[in-house]
């Protein structure tokens, strides 16, 4: 790992900061009547930062104070102009001046010149997060007024707020705040992602756990300020609620606004047009967050085995386990979760583990016997449904609807995996898909559904199940 200093700007940078921050100077204004002046000034400030850092040919990253001011605008403002502008600026800045990145360096020491990637961390680059050590809690609280930075607690609070509003939203004021909170959440998750992904891929190469231990994501989750389990549950809630809303509410909402007739300032229409889109993108970044947590867990279990973790790393239940528990005990969200969570590798994994809890085990498995948990494959799960005895015993504990949903979704994930052009190096993926051919899996799926039907002639097959069956049959007819 290399720690690189930011582009040294020195005096010129300080001059830029002073000059730009002066735009925000409000000492001349002290009346609420000139609110639009303040907004004009803030917009001018955002534009000035964009010009200085992104547009000019040798632009440097804004100073921390400037970054802080832009972030503060995204966090606190109620004007749509300002919210959108500051969000876009922060995202663009993050792209142009990454905090963490991989630099490819060629090493010709060995016989074959292999490309090694080295992790570069720009130490003094600004980040919206700050995780003080838990023991310095009080100090952090005291400093809170100074910076608007986000810690684990406020991140979790933000997620909870989005959950709350996505369930009950009414007035326009709530909607602007809702939009802002979703954009804020998206930006923060983008930051987490850009920090985690290069670290994780560097870890895969050199097995240096420190890289991941110092990742923002790990620090966020490791904090004792949040209740980890409820954090994961809230993430699941957003995933399930937001997709549900999209289908149910958005048509209703546009209907309402057409009749309210108050289109004068366009805020209503702007929100009605944009909310489905922003909800969708919030949903997809949240999916990314959950996937990152799972990847982190995976890397961590590897580090555990190699003994590179210490007591200071603490203990954390893997996110998959918490999610499974939630899905099993809260079957209402199962269907919408499976619908949203479409990353095939993890989806198949989650479903197979779900089944594992209900399928009688043929032999006693010892976890962590040979490094990885030896998972069952989808193929093996399907075979359990081939004879009526085991089907009966599974259905006794698991309702037929749930079994149908799980099977159909697992089949969809399986199809995606088998259609994907698998990149080299992901041998474990291939194992999931190998086993038996696509045609065999299609046949087994049909027979699994047939035996489910045999168990209870009354229950009809769910629409999603029918679609899966139809797909399987069509694939079979074209393959043969």
């Amino acid at each position: 790992m290399e720690n690189r200093k930011g582009v040294a700007g020195g005096a010129a940078n300080r001059g830029l900061e002073e000059n730009t921050m002066a735009i925000l100077d409000t000492s001349g204004f002290n009346s609420s009547k000139i609110c639009h002046h303040l907004n004009d000034d803030r917009l001018a400030f955002l534009e000035a930062v964009r010009c200085a850092s992104l547009l000019s040919i040798n632009g440097t990253a804004p100073t921390s104070i400037m970054f802080e001011a832009v972030f503060q605008i995204l966090k606190d403002e109620d004007s749509l102009d300002l919210i959108m502008e500051s969000y876009q600026l922060l995202v663009d800045l993050n792209k142009r001046f990454p905090r963490v990145y991989l630099s490819k360096t060629e090493k010709s020491e060995s016989s074959s010149s292999n490309v090694m990637s080295e992790l570069v961390v720009v130490q003094e680059a600004w980040s919206p997060f700050s995780f003080g050590l838990d023991s310095y809690n009080e100090k952090a609280v005291a400093n809170k007024q100074l910076g608007g930075s986000v810690d684990s607690l406020s991140f979790h609070a933000l997620i909870q707020e989005v959950v709350k509003v996505s369930r009950e939203r009414k007035s326009e004021a709530v909607e602007i705040k809702f939009l802002r909170n979703m954009l804020l959440l998206q930006y923060l998750i983008i930051i987490l992602e850009d920090d985690f992904l290069p670290r994780n891929s560097a870890y895969q190469e050199n097995m240096n756990w420190t890289l991941l231990r110092e990742s923002l994501l790990n620090m966020l989750l490791g904090s004792r300020k949040i209740i980890y389990k409820s954090f994961i549950q809230d993430c699941l809630c957003i995933l399930c609620d937001l997709t549900f809303d999209q289908t149910e509410l958005s048509s209703e909402m546009s209907h309402n606004s057409r009749h309210s007739g108050d289109l004068s300032d366009g805020i209503d229409t702007a929100l009605v047009l944009a909310l489905p889109e922003v909800e969708k993108s919030t949903c997809s970044v949240l999916k990314k967050l959950v996937l990152m947590i799972m990847e982190l867990d995976l890397s961590r279990s590897m580090a555990d085995l190699q003994g590179s973790t210490t007591r200071a790393d603490g203990v954390r239940t893997p996110a998959v386990d918490i999610m499974l528990e939630e899905l099993i005990y809260n079957s209402d969200i199962l269907s919408s979760f499976l619908q949203v969570f479409d990353e095939p590798k993890w989806k198949l994994k989650v479903i197979v583990e779900y089944f594992q809890k209900y399928i009688p085990k043929s032999s006693v498995r010892t976890r962590r016997s040979n490094g990885q948990v030896k998972d069952q494959t989808f193929d093996e799960v399907l075979k359990c449904f081939s004879n009526s005895n085991s089907t009966k015993s599974i259905v006794k504990k698991l309702s037929i609807e749930v079994a149908q949903l799980l099977l159909a979704h697992a089949f969809q994930a399986y199809l995606s995996l088998s259609l994907q052009h698998l990149p080299e190096g992901s041998s474990e993926l291939k194992e999931d898909v190998k086993g038996s051919s696509l045609a065999e899996v299609c046949k087994n799926l049909i027979s699994a559904f047939t035996s489910l039907r045999r168990e209870d002639k009354e229950t009809e097959i769910l629409p999603f199940g029918k679609e899966a069956l139809f797909t399987a049959a069509t694939i079979l007819s074209t393959k043969s």
């Binding site: 200085a52 004068s264 049909i446 999603f464 074209t478």
Partner: protein, 459 residues
């Protein structure tokens, strides 16, 4: 240092804490506040007097001359009020925004794919019918289900081919369906079959929508800025309040679809260069509609992908043409600053476009036909900001345009003469306008100019 145990410590500190608020009073905006305050006091006094007089009137009506005086006074107050309103209005920067979409036209009816289609046929002929229980009547909702739940995409990928009847059906769903879940699924379907991954697995698409299909949809959505004959001054600044004004929700799919088409130029020829130029202009014009304000993320993404559509040898001419056509179509007021600022400048081409658009607008605002950089700057320098009749709001716009033009014009980068001229123009504005100048926009122009000057000095 004072002793920490000194009991007088606090008393000394007290006055210091109060003092910083004093200098604020010097600032110019207070003038307005004071006026208003005085006016309000006056009004109160008049009202009080009125009510008093009412009481007096009840007892005696002798004071007619006072009545006349009162009328005069209230007239004076009214006049004062009017003037103040005017000052307030003038100082307020008008919000950007024009009406880009008018009334929506009638959407075409959605037709389901013909039953000869492979997929529909196999629905009916399915051997599994005992389990799936399908009939031809249930075929259409079932097909929708296959699309929404993502199975259709999987089937297409295993078959390696998209039939025409299916692709037109889904295209029309995307652009004309009123149901969000169908639109969303249809849009995802098209974006996936156009993605590079789909192409590498050799998917054959029997029918691709053309430029005119997309333009037709835009027309149906009520897009207004298409005819260049329509002068920009005619464009309505106020949003119409009719029920169907403004774009439908489908506009999001339209934007995403254009972005997807532009990314696959090397595989599918969907647009010509001229058509792509037109779409670039359309996308930029969408930034001017306040109703689309919160879609700026997908608009930026789309603009990025249209800009990268062009080949290197095409870009220079296309960029100039887009800039010229935009400046014929869009109004030359505060909206032209918004137009320039909507081009994010995240890569070289985007910076180039931003500079070109700013330059064209500047030429138009100055009422010039053909002129070079020096001519433009000479005109800017010749504007006398001290003149009482000088329109400072225009000057504010010119400064913004010139800044964007000069900062990224590659041909002017090392031109010392141009830089010197720009500096003297900025000096005119920052020194020519006094800090006490109460004209509207005076402080905006002055602070913008001094910011830019300071920025040049910092470099």
């Amino acid at each position: 240092m004072t002793d920490a145990y000194d009991p007088l410590d606090f008393e000394f500190e007290e006055p210091i804490r109060i003092s910083p608020s004093v200098p604020k009073k010097k600032k110019k905006v207070i003038g307005l506040d004071d006026l208003l305050e005085d006016h309000e006091k006056e009004q109160k006094r008049i009202n009080e007097r009125k009510s008093k007089r009412q009481k007096i009137k009840n007892t005696s009506d002798s004071e007619e001359d006072e009545d006349a005086r009162e009328k005069e006074l209230s007239k004076c107050v009214d006049k004062c009020q009017k003037e103040m309103d005017q000052i307030n209005d003038d100082d307020e920067m008008p919000l950007w925004g024009i009406q880009v979409f008018g009334d929506q036209k009638i959407f075409p009816a959605l037709e389901y794919p013909e039953p000869r289609s492979f997929i529909l046929q196999s629905i009916v002929n399915n051997k599994l019918n005992s389990l799936v229980e399908l009939t031809i009547e249930k075929g259409e909702p079932f097909l929708e289900g296959l699309l929404v739940d993502g199975w259709l995409l999987k089937l297409i990928f295993t078959q390696g081919r998209v039939e025409k009847s299916i692709s037109t059906w889904i295209f029309n769903l995307m652009l004309y369906s009123s149901k969000e879940w169908l639109r969303k699924a249809a849009c995802e379907f098209w974006c996936s079959i156009l993605s590079p991954e789909a192409n590498s697995s050799g998917i054959k698409i029997d029918w691709l929508p053309s430029y005119s299909d997309l333009k037709r949809a835009l027309g149906i959505y009520g897009y207004l800025l298409d005819s260049p004959s329509k002068l920009s001054s005619d464009i309505d600044m106020i949003h119409a309040d009719s029920d169907t004004a403004g774009p439908p929700q489908n506009i999001r799919c339209w934007i995403k679809y254009v972005a997807a088409c532009c990314q696959v130029r090397n595989m599918h020829v969907i647009f010509s260069t001229l058509e792509a130029e037109d779409f670039l202009g359309v996308i930029i014009s969408l930034f001017l509609d306040r109703q689309l304000l919160c879609l700026s993320m997908i608009l930026h993404a789309c603009m990025y992908s249209v800009i990268s559509f062009f080949k290197d040898e095409e870009w220079h001419d296309s960029c100039e043409r887009v800039a010229k056509s935009l400046c014929c179509r869009l109004p030359g007021d505060i909206n032209c600053l918004r137009t320039v600022e909507s081009i994010s400048g995240s890569n070289g081409r985007s910076k180039h476009l931003r500079s070109a658009v700013a330059k064209q607008f500047l030429i138009r605002c100055l009422n010039e036909k053909e002129c070079d950089a020096e001519d433009i700057l000479r005109m800017l320098i010749s504007i006398n900001v001290k003149d009482k009749n000088c329109d400072l709001s225009k000057m504010y716009i010119y400064l913004g345009l010139a800044e964007n033009w000069l900062l990224f014009d590659p041909t002017l980068k090392d031109n010392a003469k141009i830089h010197e001229m720009w500096r003297s123009c900025l000096r005119n504005c920052s020194c020519g306008i006094a800090i006490t100048d109460l004209r509207s926009y005076a402080s905006k122009v002055r602070s913008k100019a001094s910011y830019l000057l300071q920025g040049m000095a910092n470099k």
